[in-house]
């Protein structure tokens, strides 16, 4: 346990030093790259909670990511234009308001989708979550007020009292702070009473029912928590990139999140972050070398699946000599 905390602290410090390192080496785009990877890591980790720990394979997780992002975008749009959302809610650019709003909105959407989808299981669950995500996607594409397919530009990152959010390093540290907090939250969550129940449900739903656990309610609660996490990640992403678009909730984005989780290691805390970082770095690096970057990415992904079980985390453990 102690060793794990030490490792986390070292990783956190290294990540916190990224802006300085980027400054020193002149490769300042690393700030944006690592920041984005952290946010995707959060989204993937939120998915991993239901997918890896809860056994619910959701193929529509990007919807909650996108909804979280759109809440920030829409509130900014109304703030900028001085209009009211739905005729009575004023816009805002205060992060202390937009982030909670995004989390709540994504949670509500997850409650709706989860309540209906969790009546099925297996392949049907995969497909019905995908279906709901597609419906959200088409809904946001036809919202003319919010830019339709083009999305919403957020000219200024939301402000946080006392911080200069225009500074790239500051924004990065805010993101890192959220990512770290979310990681710790998830660690607590999977070790909590609820986390144990969810782990039990993944392994054997029938057994849990025989313990008097109404599995549907617990799964729904997990689904909502997970959706809220994705909403937070989406809200941060829009702040980070200053842009919200329906691409955020396209089905291929849901697929990408799944790829990150599987690549990193299903049902591990650090896996999704590692998977996000690896996929993101890989894509970015290869895209600079060749226009046909998809081919090597595809081949590498395929090799990872075929040759290893448990993704990069398992590989890392194997290399480190099975310390855990």
């Amino acid at each position: 346990m102690k060793r794990e905390n030490l490792l986390l602290l070292v990783v956190f410090i290294l990540l916190a030093l990224v802006p300085f390192a980027a400054e020193l080496t002149g490769q300042s785009s690393w700030i944006k790259l690592v920041g984005q990877a952290l946010i995707y890591g959060m989204a993937a980790a939120s998915l991993n909670f239901i997918l890896g720990y809860g056994g619910m394979v959701s193929f529509g997780h990007a919807a909650f990511f996108g909804i979280g992002g759109y809440v920030v975008g829409m509130l900014y749009h109304h703030f900028d234009a001085g209009t009211l959302f739905l005729g009575f809610i004023p816009g805002t650019d205060q992060m202390l308001i937009t982030l909670p709003a995004a989390i709540v909105a994504a949670g509500l959407a997850a409650a709706l989708v989860g309540a209906l989808s969790l009546r099925t299981g297996g392949v049907q669950f995969i497909m019905i979550t995908l279906a709901f995500a597609q419906m959200f996607f088409f809904l946001f594409i036809s919202l003319k007020t919010y830019g339709g397919e083009d999305g919403i530009m957020v000219r200024r990152t939301n402000s946080l009292p006392g911080l200069n959010m225009k500074d790239k390093a500051t924004l990065y540290w805010v993101v890192l702070g959220f990512a770290a907090a979310y990681y710790l939250f998830l660690r607590r969550l999977v070790q909590s009473s609820f986390g144990q129940i969810i782990a039990g449900i993944r392994q054997n739903e029938r057994r849990m029912a025989a313990m008097g656990i109404s599995t549907y309610r617990y799964k729904l609660y997990a689904f909502i928590l997970s959706g809220m996490g994705a909403g937070l990640a989406g809200a941060l992403m829009v702040n980070f990139l200053r842009f919200a678009s329906p691409d955020m909730m396209h089905w291929s984005r849901s697929g990408e999140l799944m790829v990150m989780v599987i690549l990193g290691g299903v049902g591990t805390l650090a896996g999704p972050f590692i998977g996000a970082g690896a996929l993101f770095t890989l894509e970015t690096m290869l895209a600079r070398v060749t226009e046909h970057w998809m081919l090597p990415v595809g081949i590498l992904l395929l090799l990872v699946v075929l040759t290893s079980k448990g993704g990069l985390m398992a590989l890392a453990r194997k290399i480190m000599g099975g310390t855990k």
Binding site: L51, R119, T120, M258, H292, V297, G298
Partner: protein, 304 residues
């Protein structure tokens, strides 16, 4: 009235195309338990191979044959090289591996054929229209697509219900363990089923190539609708896939055709149009959600 009839035909034609794709996918799903996101890539392979040969030789029929052979071979290669290692894995690994296959297929196609869409046209005998009702000319080629689709459906019915291979396929779709227990060459059966599924997907691609744009990524768009068909029909059921494909084709076409105009009766034109199209785009997903809420395993679910 004529318009309605024509739209029904359009729905039927879309439906049989979906069926060609869904039949293979549902069998692969049902028998091997594999979620194959890359099924649409085989559709693309069929379309590209057929179009390329048609351009080189000027013969649609030569292209048809090449498309079938190419997609069938591609399917068998994929089965032997990749799928075989995925049967014992969980759905997640299958999703990741077949997602990777999509990337590989798409980019390889770009490398071979470039990014420009390929040109194909309908064969001479099938160009033009037939006046099926007074005042209703209907493209001959589309009638041909419907005929081919229905013929394949009938062929599959006989294959599955009247032959020994079909018996194994049916048994495998409802109970995988049982086929293993029968001591059949299960690997051979798997390869054959996968090859057949790929062939049908390729056929759908060939059939679609004179109608739609033959371009990279064309399979990614239609694969979602195909999955919807498979799930609505019930995983593993070819009959379910047929019913669901036709129903979905009709439903989708009817929504697109009549919903905006219907909405215009109750709201201003432009908004009605936008809303109507928005809802029609969601239509198939809505249909799937509704079906699954009533029948969580689809319409014709097997026990497996």
């Amino acid at each position: 009235m004529i318009l309605l009839f024509e739209q029904l035909l359009n729905g039927l034609q879309y439906g049989v195309t979906l069926f060609l794709l869904a039949a293979g996918l549902t069998l692969i799903f049902g028998i091997m338990g594999v979620i194959n996101l890359a099924h649409g890539a085989l559709y693309m392979v069929g379309a590209f191979a057929a179009s390329w040969v048609a351009i080189q030789t000027g013969s649609f029929w030569g292209g048809l044959l090449t498309g079938l052979v190419a997609s069938g071979i591609a399917g068998i290669v994929v089965e032997l090289g990749v799928m075989r290692r995925l049967y014992a894995r969980d759905h997640l690994d299958q999703v990741l591996a077949t997602f990777a296959l999509i990337l590989i297929f798409n980019q390889t196609t770009v490398l071979i054929f470039g990014r420009q869409p390929l040109f194909t046209s309908t064969p001479e005998v099938l160009s033009g229209s037939i006046e099926i009702l007074p005042g209703l000319p209907y493209p001959t080629y589309r009638l041909f697509v419907i005929a081919v689709g229905l013929a394949v459906a009938i062929g599959l019915y006989f294959l599955i219900n009247k032959t020994r291979v079909g018996m194994l396929v049916r048994a495998g779709a409802s109970n995988r363990q049982m086929v293993r227990a029968l001591g059949v060459n299960i690997q051979g059966l798997y390869t054959a089923v996968f090859g057949l599924g790929a062939l049908l997907a390729g056929l759908a691609g060939v059939m679609a190539s004179p109608i739609v744009s033959v371009q990279v990524g064309m399979g990614d768009e239609i694969i979602l609708a195909t999955f919807v068909v498979v799930v609505i029909g019930g995983v593993g059921s070819v009959k379910g896939a047929f019913v669901a494909a036709i129903a979905l084709g009709m439903f989708d076409t009817m929504l697109r055709a009549f919903l905006p105009a219907t909405l215009q009766q109750v709201m201003p034109g432009p908004e009605a149009q936008a809303l109507g199209v928005g809802i029609s785009s969601m239509g198939i997903y809505l249909m799937m959600a509704l079906v699954l809420l009533v029948r969580p395993r689809g319409l014709f679910a097997g026990r497996g």
